[in-house]
Symmetry: C2
Subunit: 762 residues, 2 copies
């Protein structure tokens, strides 16, 4: 294919990942426990189910626009599964199995209940034909499709009228499939990650009589035992017809007719061509040979997948050449060599009628052609993948298989080292479990809601990413949600009520609920004329619709007419209606109400550190900033405390500098304002506030007719019961953040993500 497109477009694609991980006990033996209950019904769960064994968790990402996102989604699925594990179980991060029971019969087949009886029966059939142990070999499946608009553009540029778009499209996929099958051994040799086998597997499964298969082995030469002779593969390799999709399917059907395999599902090739059941056209290509990478929590790295993707694209750029029987046999031979002896400098390859060649030379030759042929203007992420690939070629010790075998040298250590990897991933995940990987551009609240939905088996779709606009669906039920809390539970006019401070106050007051006393003006002169009303009082002057506090002034008791008039003018710069309100004393609390129930209460405290009598303020800040909840730019539940001019100035007003050492338990504030964005702390008070305030919050939500709201309430004394003069509701927010209640600086996770889903009926 002549490529007329920019490389940045050529790498556009749609990507999906599937991954299996075995659940193991903390000693590395296969877990016999049932699939975690927290993950819902594995028969209908769209993302998390089981593969062959009850202990073999299967995670499936939906189609994503980038490889990074697909890996991120998989990472999140992995974290969700980890969080759901019981009895100190771990997820086995290696394709080759952990310690398997001596009695194969005890390996539990996945149980899908009455409705999933067929699935169980199929697994029983597989047990008989292949044995249970082999079925436990796990890995990554990588689904790739080319975006229709890209194919349309390629077709357009071809300007051929002999071929229909559908034929053109099929041709692209068939060429990509055939050439990938031709070249995939290259990927196995470089990226394979299963160079070791535990004896509990090898002595039963591996037919070769070499020593390592009985005691297990840690091979310095192999790249991927999973793909090799001991792996999970068709006993006899077979030849398929790649000349058209129709003939491909026919050749597969012939294998079934001749009982080589029993169904298409038993085609364990490195790549499957997948079909869209709605129109019979090719939907995507499934790359099946990728091993689990125990160094990655997600089980696979984006950079490795980009190499796979490039090898596939390289196939599209190669000249058209039939993938005939000879070529297929050569590919099989190369695959097995790459798998079992991919790092062996002595490995020789040949197929019938061809002379023997050094496998490493073959590999180097391919690499040279591959690197020469690739476009030069690839996006940065792909250029990095190429650099990475060059490193693997030049330094074989950098290959995954080498890094694994460098980490341990006995089959026992094989178990221990992998368990450690698993524990390490888990620990890392726990500190940052507020993220949905690959979706970090979304608001934290949306990430949390999506994660909880995915956990429950609720299908999540991004309808408009930049707006945090998602759909949630399960069975017949479908809900549209924007920014986590804009839902169908609230009606539009009631949202507009919350948005409008004037209306909010009128409605609250009519319901007998306290809101700041004040006046509303649509005319600046009139507002000024009424100075007499506010003289000598602490007041707030603000535009009706405030955005980020713009145009708001607070005047103290000793206010002057001049200050008042200036404040009025400033407020009118932001709206044509302004409010003058009494300044309400007390502390401000965010009270989150869902369906007439208070589900979280939060108070924010200005950025601060607590002395220990030893460290300087600067050191205490650094230490506090190590909390994984703190980051920069609203990507985390809390922000790092800065050591900037504002903080230095505020310290100075207290006669302090960053280098002072506060006494033990002395609280040093770095800021006057309590915003989270300037390093403030969020503190959960859900269980610490007198119930009367909660009752008022619920009453206020009812009066406003709203189901999801974050009320801002000033409270004088949280222990004293509410009285008309000791609290005041400042506003009701129609789009309150939920993440601050899930990951506060102090206090419990109030799981508002779950509460929102409950309220939506999922």
């Amino acid at each position: 294919m002549k490529n007329t497109l920019k490389a940045s477009m050529l790498v556009e694609g749609n990507f999906g990942l599937e991954k299996e991980n075995l659940r193991v006990n903390s000693d590395g033996t296969l877990a016999f426990s049932p699939h975690p209950a927290a993950l819902g019904d594995k028969l209908t769960h769209p993302y998390i189910t089981t593969d062959f064994s009850e202990s073999q968790v299967e995670m499936i990402t939906p189609v994503q626009d980038t490889i990074e996102e697909a890996v991120g989604f998989l990472h999140t699925l992995h974290n969700i599964v980890e969080e759901s594990l019981e009895n100190e179980e771990l997820l086995w991060p290696q394709s080759m199995p952990p310690i398997l029971p001596i009695d194969e019969e005890t390996i539990p087949i996945a149980n899908f209940g009455e409705q999933g009886k067929e699935l169980e029966e199929y697994r029983q059939y597989l047990s008989k034909v292949y044995g249970k142990r082999k079925q436990l070999v796990s890995g990554i499946h990588f689904n790739i499709s080319f975006p229709e608009e890209l194919l349309a553009l390629l077709y357009q540029e071809k300007k051929s009228e002999e071929v229909s778009y559908e034929q053109f499209r099929e041709g692209i996929y068939m060429k990509a499939a055939a050439n990938y099958m031709k070249n995939h051994w290259f990927v196995i040799a470089l990226l394979g990650g299963s160079p070791a086998i535990h004896a509990s597997y090898s002595q039963y499964v591996c037919k070769s009589k070499t020593a390592h298969t009985e005691k297990g082995c840690v091979s310095p030469l192999a790249s991927s035992f999973r793909i090799g002779k001991c792996g999970y593969r068709n006993e006899r390799e077979f030849i398929l017809d790649y000349s058209s999709y129709e003939r491909y399917k026919e050749s597969l059907q012939e294998l079934i007719t001749h009982k080589v395999i029993n169904s298409e599902k038993e085609n364990y090739s490195a790549l499957r061509i997948k079909e869209n059941p709605n129109n019979g056209a090719i939907s995507h290509l499934e790359v099946r040979h990728i091993d689990l990478n125990p160094f990655e929590a997600s089980g696979v790295s984006a950079i490795d997948l980009r190499i796979v993707h490039l090898v596939m694209l390289y196939g599209l750029l190669e000249e058209d050449k039939e993938f005939n029987e000879q070529a297929q046999r050569r590919a099989h031979e190369y695959q097995l060599t790459a798998a079992d002896r991919g790092r062996d400098p002595q490995a020789m390859v040949s197929v019938a009628g061809e002379k023997e060649q050094s496998f490493q030379e073959v590999l180097a030759d391919f690499a040279e052609r591959f690197l020469k042929e690739l476009p030069q203007d690839l996006p940065i992420a792909y250029q990095e993948a190429i650099d990475h690939l060059k490193g693997l070629l030049e330094q074989p010790e950098q290959r995954l298989a080498s890094k694994i075998t460098a980490s341990f040298d006995t089959p026992e250590m094989f178990i221990q080292w992998h368990l450690e990897q698993s524990r390490k991933h888990r620990e890392e995940a726990e500190g940052k479990n507020y993220n949905f990987y690959g979706k970090k551009d979304l608001e934290l609240s949306t990430q949390l809601l999506m994660k909880e939905a995915v956990k429950r088996g609720v299908k999540v779709e991004l309808l408009d990413r930049s707006e945090n606009f998602i759909t949630l669906s399960k069975g017949e039920k479908k809900e549209y949600v924007v920014q986590a809390t804009k839902t169908s539970l609230d009606s539009y006019s009631h949202i507009l009520m919350m948005e409008n401070k004037v209306v909010t106050k009128k409605v609250l007051k009519a319901a007998g609920i306290q809101a700041p006393e004040g006046n509303e003006f649509t005319d600046a002169q009139k507002a000024k004329d009424f100075f007499g009303l506010v003289k000598g009082k602490a007041i707030v002057i603000k535009p009706k619709s405030t955005n980020f506090g713009l145009g708001i002034s607070i005047l103290k008791e000793n206010n002057s007419r001049e200050d008042y008039e200036k404040a009025v003018e400033m407020a009118f710069e932001h709206d044509n209606t302004i409010l003058t309100e009494e300044f309400v004393s007390g502390r401000e609390f965010r009270i989150f109400v869902i369906n007439d129930e208070v589900v979280g209460i939060l108070h924010r405290v200005p950025a601060n550190v607590v002395g220990d009598g030893e460290h300087t303020i600067a050191q205490l800040i650094d230490r506090k900033n190590e909390d994984p909840l703190r980051g920069k730019g609203y990507k985390t539940p809390l922000e790092k405390i800065a050591k900037g001019d504002a903080e230095a100035l505020f310290l100075k007003t207290q006669g302090l500098t960053f280098e002072d050492i506060p006494a033990k338990d002395q609280v040093i504030y770095l800021r006057e304002n309590s915003n989270i964005s300037t390093g403030g702390d969020s503190i959960d008070y859900t269980d610490d506030i007198h119930p009367s305030y909660k009752a008022i919050a619920v009453e206020a939500a009812k009066a406003m007719g709203v189901k999801i709201t974050g009320l801002d309430m000033m409270i004088d004394n949280i222990q004293a019961p509410a009285q008309p003069n000791n609290y005041s509701i400042i506003e009701l927010n129609f789009n309150p953040a939920i993440h601050i209640h899930c990951h506060p600086y102090q206090g419990k996770n109030r799981h508002l993500d779950a509460k929102i889903l409950d309220a939506l009926g999922f």
Copy 2:
């Protein structure tokens, strides 16, 4: 009271109006028909009910912030009643009754049904005591209160600690009441509007034996027979104690004890002090002596009410002086003289122990003091009222009573002239019945919805005027509505779906509904790279969220890469996501759906005139612009066609000028765009479109999960059934205007105001 406030603040007030009009047949006889059914249940209707007689419609405005608004609301109530009249009935625009039946018994007492039995019984009691004819005398009641913040400010400025705010407030009201009672004869003399009586009233009611009372009369001397000896008043004037509210109530109670009157309701003084039943404090003052003004559709003019208001405020500025018995007797004497002989140069007045004075001299003296005492810096509307007052003083023929008696000179003509006035008001109203008077600053859609609500007896409250934010309530039911179509019927997330073009398209397509084909880009370079996809096609390039068409480009089939790239850049200036869409052919229709039903379909046509072979284009424009539906600045359903540069230029492209005379039936377009704002026509197609498109519109609304929406659909041929290739839905509007469907240039009023209220359950 020492006034330290600016005059602009002093005239702040809250105002309400009540008005009675008798229903008459087209010959001027009292109508015996029941209260119009279209006006709902008069027992519970908050705005329109009946007074004494079934034929005596009573209209009550809610409290308004300005006199102008109160008059406007009354005007609208009047129009609503007029529109509801059957059998060619008219509203009698004069305080003194029309032709009454000889047999008084046939005058129908208001029937409030079983639940309103008490009301009917009270009216039977009144018939007995006062006679039915007197009860038919009609007029205006004007309710005035002082805003609390104004009173608070006055109290603040007073800086007295001896008097509580409540006492201070009561003092203000009592002084205003007493002094108004003292001075109100001045208003009667100048503004009285009932100088004529029909014989069917006078011969039965008037006890004086002068000739005019038997044959009826048209008096050149009287100002207000309604307030005079033949009017509706207490037989014996009584003295009340104005020294405090407590004593005032006691003195009224004493009259009841002594059977002078039977209840407070029978205190027919020119002013009543009204109480807030919740706290027993004075709520407002009710001025009861104002006559109907037959020249005004609303029955009273704002300028006259401002004079009344100024006389009341003048009373506040007068020095404190007891309103003792002597003063009250003097006020009674002046009142009667003003009423029966207000324009009589010979009229003399005196009370016991005082020497006789010329009434006109007394009036001139009062006027001089009044004008001198009033603040100089009154707002313009009040200054105009003063100028008007000066005119009435200097030219007695300008007084209302004089203008009435100048219009006819016999009792028969009295009937005919008033019927003519009534017909004139009605005709004027019919052409502009899209307005809610006094609320013309609101959007037309909101005005229409409010008017229909008021008609149905649904209580309407403006929660936030600048946002067109209203509440509608009836009984326990309450709804919040913004801009007429933002209601509780639609949920927030579904509104956000409509607002988002990307989401809308995805959802419509998923439901199998046609929307323009296209692509979405978040990256300008990528959009540009995809030029190949749109080359040679007519396309629209637009930002995801378009506002007023900003950033939209339309490229024709011969588009160039350069134009395309420029259009992409322009679109990205307005949003971070853009859409490139096929250009859809056909005509655009706005299809309004409420609760899964199409309730209106509209098509807009560019500004045009149709030739008659005689007039120039300029003349045809002028004639078309005379339509009361056309105005300027979105205050009317259609805009006037301009004769500006744009129109001249567009004519020039057709080889025409404004001075050309088009042939008969030739359509001349003045604009290319079809916007209503540039003089376009709105044409109702509700009954003219193939039903398949309506079905699709309903399906689209269902797919989007929305209850109120205005869909924009492109249709190739409105007679042909819908096919996948002959229509396309451009967008769904979540805040569609309703007025264009109610008052189109061509076609029926589709009463969407009523349909929205139906949908809301009112």
